[in-house]
């Protein structure tokens, strides 16, 4: 046994450092299926509390949808529990390929390859697509998994200021001598809910002969008129070369992700992507349920329409209540509190009021930009949203922050 004093002390000290920095994460145990109304035990051993969930990525409310759950049961019966193999040995069922075809059809792409997660898809795509002769230029606020994927590849990498097209153009000019150029961005950024200007990005990509890669995890299933994603929202379906996305948010919320896009690149990923080659893919039961999800969202836009209505209603009501929010159209609604302690205090008090939200602060968001991130769902009814707004109002009054803007909140609480 080599787990001696030095190792133990080192890990203990790291944990103490995390606690002292106020960054220690504790899990809250949810005792019910995922949904708008959940029961939570927090902290461990505390009495179970019924709360309204306003912080899940369950955008379409499909996580516990009865048809999806029934499809999972059917899948378990007809396809078994596990495959005990990676895809290319004996881990591919007909339904895996069927799901890939349905995803391609839905996203408007040429081909799709499933991964165990979108984190895996992002870890795979750059390493396969790019070589040391190439460059990837990413928005500075892309998801951590995109950054990790970029760091795993051998290409030159650089970044541009968040959604700053002039800066992106400058970088594309700077790297004109590279063999291949790829611009990488999130479709929707998870902390602000802001939407990447994919139309402008595609224009610049055309002008400077660059590929476009979009992580659309916070969009697939509901952004755009028929829910295809940010590329539909921005009117560039067919012009984004690579989309990575997740089945772990709007699309059922269990697990899994994919690379979807140009067929040669997807095929090359099937041949070379390490997270595909050296890991099992989605469990059969998740595939069966995901096929049902694709059927539901392909048949009707009812759920994304309801999500849009809920988002609009909450944004109007919370603004009228006097909160400072980031404007936008996305169901991620950042309630800006600027001060880290205030964000944590407000989140804690809201939990006591039966509203489950989380405070975000540095280093997850920039210093002085602490907030509570509310996420709407098609599973929310008007009553849920009204209850949430009422609780926000009550706690807002307690801290005297209603009607205050950034300057006034910072004057009162610091940043």
């Amino acid at each position: 046994m080599a787990y001696g004093t030095a190792a133990r002390e080192f890990y203990r000290n790291e944990l103490v450092g995390i606690r002292n920095d106020g960054l220690f994460k504790e899990e809250r145990y949810i005792l019910t299926p995922q949904g708008a109304d959940i029961e939570v035990e927090f902290p461990e051993g505390a009495p179970v509390k019924k709360v309204i969930n306003m912080c899940a990525n369950n955008y379409l409310g499909l996580s516990s949808h009865p048809d999806v759950v029934a499809a999972a049961h059917d899948g378990l019966d007809s396809k078994g529990y596990g495959m005990s193999s990676v895809r290319f040995i004996c881990g591919t069922q007909d339904t895996h390929r069927e799901l890939e075809r349905k995803l391609s059809e839905f996203l408007g792409t040429e081909d799709t390859l499933l991964f165990a997660s979108c984190m895996d898809a992002n870890a795979a795509v750059f390493e396969v697509a790019l070589t040391p002769e190439d460059v990837v230029i990413a928005d500075r606020l892309v998801h951590a998994s995109v950054i990790d994927g970029i760091k795993l590849c051998e290409a030159q990498y650089d970044s541009y200021k968040h959604m700053d097209m002039k800066h992106l153009e400058k970088k594309l000019q700077q790297f004109a001598d590279k063999r291949l150029r790829m611009v990488a961005t999130d479709g929707v950024f998870s902390m602000d809910g802001d939407v990447a200007p994919l139309d402008e990005i595609c224009e610049l990509a055309d002008k400077y002969d660059a590929m476009v890669m979009v992580d659309d995890s916070h969009s697939s299933g509901f952004m755009g008129k028929t829910g295809r994603g940010t590329h539909e929202h921005c009117g560039v379906v067919g012009r984004v070369d690579v989309i990575t996305t997740t089945l772990g948010k709007a699309l059922g919320g269990a697990s899994g992700g994919c690379i979807s896009g140009r067929k040669e690149l997807v095929e090359l990923c099937r041949q070379r992507a390490r997270p595909y080659l050296f890991s099992n893919t989605l469990a059969p039961v998740v595939v069966s349920a995901s096929l049902k999800v694709m059927d539901i969202i392909s048949a009707t836009t009812e759920r994304r329409d309801k999500l849009e209505e809920n988002t609009l209603y909450f944004r109007e009501q919370i603004t009228a209540a006097g909160f400072d929010i980031r404007p936008g159209v996305h169901p991620i609604v950042p309630i800006m509190l600027y001060n880290a302690q205030l964000a944590q205090d407000v989140a804690r008090d809201l939990y006591e009021e039966g509203i489950y939200v989380i405070g975000f602060f540095f280093p997850v968001v920039p210093k002085g930009q602490a907030r509570i991130r509310v996420q709407l769902s098609a599973a929310h009814e008007k009553e849920h949203i009204d209850a949430a707004v009422a609780a926000f109002k009550k706690i807002g009054e307690k801290y005297g922050i209603l009607g205050l803007g950034k300057k006034e909140i910072i004057e009162k609480f610091g940043n």
């Binding site: 990413a138 500075r140 650089d158 970044s159 200021k161 968040h162 700053d164 210093k367």
Partner: protein, 84 residues
């Protein structure tokens, strides 16, 4: 006394990292990385700029967060490799 190297580094940092609406003044001892203005991911463009501008190669092991944390520190690093 004016220090052209530091001026150039500061100018690049402001142009490359300060976003519109940011209330940030970059001084020679302003912490760039620990202060949250530059992260380890976007730091690469600064390294690339220095290498191109001064025709030097900064080894990856030298391009640490500490070495890039202030204009002063960056100037010291550059002067290890360039006579400026």
């Amino acid at each position: 006394m004016a220090d052209e190297l530091k001026d150039k580094i500061r100018e690049y940092v402001v142009d490359e990292y300060v976003e519109e609406g940011d209330d940030v003044e970059v001084k020679d001892d302003t912490p760039l990385i620990t202060g949250g203005l530059v992260d380890s991911f976007s730091m690469v463009s600064l390294k690339l700029f220095l290498e191109t501008e001064y025709d030097i190669k900064i080894p990856d092991e030298k391009a640490t967060a500490e070495a890039f944390d202030t204009v002063n520190a960056i100037a010291v690093l550059v002067r290890e490799y360039a006579d400026v």
